[in-house]
Point group: C2
C-alpha cells in the first residue's frame, strides 16, 4: 500500500489506501477491455462477468441475494436514488438522525421541498456511552419521535462523527410494527469493510455503501442493498440502458432487481479493483476477526488519548469500531490537524461536533498509535 | 492504441479506444493521489486541480465559461439530472425526436409519468438527404409539432442511428420565439470529439456528452453544458458534498454553477485520462480539421458501400460526420455483424431502423476502409 509509506495514516474513514494489487487489477482490466473490444465482441461478456463477480462477492458480504444489490458511483447516490422513486404523500415525515452526512441531509431536504414532506429530528449524536446503552437510548428516542405520519427513518450504521454504532436491526424491527411501516435508509459509508454488515444490510430498505473507504477500493464505486419491498415500491429516476430490462427500447420495462437503479456506462475496471481489495481483506480474516483487530487498535488509541491531560475522547467507552474522535483543550480542530499532518500524522477535523477524528484499520500498527498519542500529548501540553 | 491492434475497429460511436498515454495518466494520477493522501493534505488541491484543468479544457471545446459545465458519470445522467429539478407543470409537453437513445426516452417517460406531462413525437429519423435538406425538414417538423404547451424539446446533435446532423442552433433560435421558451435538451453522445460542438453547446439548455466515445477517454466520465437560465431554474436532485456551496452543512445552499448537479466522490484519475485523450486529439488538429479527416473517411466508406450490390447506406449523401449506417439485402444486421467480427471487423447493429453501423475516426486508415468494403461486398454477394 504505497499510500501508507512515509506517513502514519488515520484517515480510513475518509478514504482508504488503494493496495498495489488492486491498482494492478484495475489496469489489467482496462488493458483486457481494450484487447477484447473496447465495444462489442468478447468485451461485453468480460465486462458483465467483472460486474457480476463483484456483485456476488458483495452479496456474500451483505448476506443478501445478489439481485438486491445496486451499484452506484458513491454513497450519496446510493442513499438518494432509491428514495426519489418512492410513492411519497404530502405530509409524510422524514425522521432523520442528527448525525447524518451533509449530502443525505441536503438530499432529504430537497425531497421534502418537492413533495411537501416534513423533516423531523432523531437525536442520536449525544449517545456517547457504550454501544448497548446507546442502543437503548436510540430506541427510546425513536419511540418518542415516531408519529403516525413517519414514512422514512434515516440513520447511519456507524456514525461518521462520534464513531458510535447504531442498533439498525432493532430499529428495523420497531418500524415493522408501525402501521405505515416506514422505510429505513441506512448510510453504511463507515461500516462496510470495518464492521460485519449482514444483519443491518438485510434489515434496512436501503443500505448504501462505498468501496473507497474501509474496503480500500478505488474511489467512484459504491453499492446499495435494497429490500424486496423497496424494489417493488420504488421506481427508477435516473434511467439508462442498465436500468432497462430490454436493450433497444425506451418503452422497455425496468429491471425488477437492483439494476433498476443503475444507470448507464460506468467504469468497469473499478469493479475489478474493488473485488481485489475485498479479496485482500478476506485474506486477513473474516469480518468478525477484522473488527476485533480494528477494535483492539482503536481501544489502545482511545485509552491513550483519554490519559492525556486536556484530551477528551468523545465516546466514554472503547469504540465499537475504528473511529476515535476527540477534542484537545486549547486547540481548534483544524489547527491541530494541520500541525499533526506536518508531523506525518494523517487525521481530519469534523464540523459537528467540532472534533478531530483518527481511524484505525487492520493496517494500523501499534507503533503508529503510540507515536500519535505521543504527538498529541506533546501538542496538548504546549497549550 | 492497443485496442486497434489486430482488428479493424469501426465502433467509435460505441466506445473509443483508450490511448496508452491516457491509461498512463490515469495510473499516474492514482499513484500521485496515494502518495499525497489519499484523503487530506495535498491530495485535495491536487484532485481539485485535476478536475479544474479538465473543466477548463472542455469549456474551451464547448465554447462556454467553465462554470456552465457539470461533470457526470455518463450521458444519460447528464441528460436527465438537470431535467428532474425543473419546475414542471401538469400538462406540459415533452417533444422528443424519434431518433433518441433508449435511456433518455425512458427517463423522459418516467418524468412524464411522475409529473403528468405529455410526450409528443418529433419525426427526424427519416431525414436521410443532405444535412441542409434535413435541417429544413426538421425545422418544418418542429414548426408542426410545437404547441402552446411545449415545455421541452429533446434532440440529439448527431443522430446515433442514421448519423445525420441536426440543426441545433436553428432549433434553439426557433424555441426562443415560443411564448413558453421551451428548454432544449441535446444528447451530444456522438458529437463531442467528432464534430465542432461550440455553437450547439452554447445554444442548448442541456448539452450532455461523454468522454468515452469519440474523445477516446476512459468510460465513466461525461460532462453536461448547461445554460445560464437552466442553472437558475433547475434544482439539484441527486445531492452530495460536491453540490453544496459549503462543506459541513446539509442546510448549505447549492452551488450556483454547474457543480450543483455534481454529486459526491467520483473517480478523479478518470479526469486526468480524459484530459490526456483530448490533448492527443488536439495535437492532430482542431475540431474542423479533424472533422474533415473523419468525413473524408466516412465518404469513402459510404461511396464504396453504395456501389455494392444489395448494400444500401441509410443516408443518401455522404455523411456529415463519422457514422455510416447501412443494410445488406438478405442479412439480418446481427448475423452480419457477427460474421464481420469473425473476420476482424468491429461494427455494431442497431435496432431502429434495423441496420449495421460503421464509424470512422481520425485513426481509421484507408486500408481498413477498403478491406471492410471488400468483406461486406463478399458477404452481400453470398446471398
Amino acid at each position: 500500500m504505497p499510500a501508507l509509506v512515509g506517513k502514519a495514516y488515520f484517515n480510513y474513514g475518509g478514504q482508504g489506501p488503494l493496495p498495489t494489487p488492486s491498482l494492478e487489477a484495475i489496469q489489467q482490466t482496462w488493458e483486457r477491455i481494450q484487447e477484447l473490444g473496447p465495444f462489442g465482441g468478447a468485451a461485453w461478456p468480460f465486462a458483465e462477468a467483472t460486474v457480476a463477480g463483484l456483485r456476488q462477492e458483495l452479496a456474500a458480504w451483505c448476506g443478501v441475494p445478489a439481485q438486491r444489490l445496486s451499484f452506484t458511483e458513491n454513497v450519496s447516490s446510493g442513499c438518494l436514488l432509491p428514495l426519489w422513486g418512492l410513492p411519497w404523500e404530502s405530509g409524510d415525515e422524514l425522521l432523520i438522525s442528527d448525525a447524518e452526512h451533509d449530502g443525505v441531509v441536503a438530499g432529504c431536504r430537497e425531497l421534502a421541498h418537492r413533495h411537501g414532506l416534513r423533516l423531523t429530528n432523531l437525536p442520536v449524536q449525544a449517545e456517547l456511552a457504550s454501544e448497548a446503552e446507546a442502543a437503548t437510548a436510540v430506541l427510546e428516542a425513536l419511540e418518542q419521535r415516531l408519529t403516525p405520519h413517519t414514512r422514512l427513518v434515516v440513520l447511519s450504521h456507524l456514525l461518521w462523527n462520534t464513531g458510535q454504532l447504531m442498533p439498525i436491526a432493532a430499529v428495523a424491527r420497531r418500524l415493522a410494527q408501525h402501521p405505515r411501516r416506514p422505510w429505513l435508509l441506512v448510510d453504511g459509508a463507515q461500516s462496510l469493510g470495518s464492521v460485519p454488515v449482514a444483519e443491518a444490510a438485510a434489515a434496512a430498505d436501503i443500505y448504501a455503501c462505498t468501496g473507497h473507504k474501509w474496503c480500500c477500493g478505488p474511489e467512484g464505486l459504491g453499492v446499495a442493498v435494497l429490500s424486496d419491498r423497496l424494489l417493488v415500491e420504488s421506481r427508477p429516476t435516473l434511467i439508462g440502458w442498465r436500468s432497462l430490462a430490454e436493450a433497444g427500447s425506451g418503452a422497455a420495462p425496468f429491471h425488477r432487481d437492483g439494476r433498476r437503479f443503475e444507470v448507464a456506462t460506468s467504469c468497469t475496471p473499478l469493479f475489478a479493483g474493488l473485488h481485489r481489495s475485498l479479496a485482500l481483506l478476506n485474506a486477513e480474516g473474516n469480518a468478525e476477526t477484522r473488527l476485533a483487530a480494528i477494535r483492539q487498535s482503536s481501544a489502545v488509541l482511545w485509552r491513550g488519548l483519554g490519559q492525556l491531560e486536556g484530551v477528551q475522547p468523545l465516546l466514554t467507552t472503547p469504540p465499537p469500531a475504528g473511529l476515535v474522535s476527540f477534542t484537545v483543550a486549547g486547540w481548534e480542530p483544524a489547527a491541530l490537524v494541520q500541525k499533526l499532518v506536518e508531523q506525518g500524522f494523517w487525521l481530519r477535523q469534523l464540523p459537528d461536533p467540532a472534533c478531530v477524528r483518527a481511524c484505525t484499520h487492520i493496517t494500523t500498527s501499534q507503533e503508529e498509535i503510540e507515536a500519535l498519542i505521543g504527538a498529541i500529548g506533546a501538542l496538548a501540553k504546549g497549550r
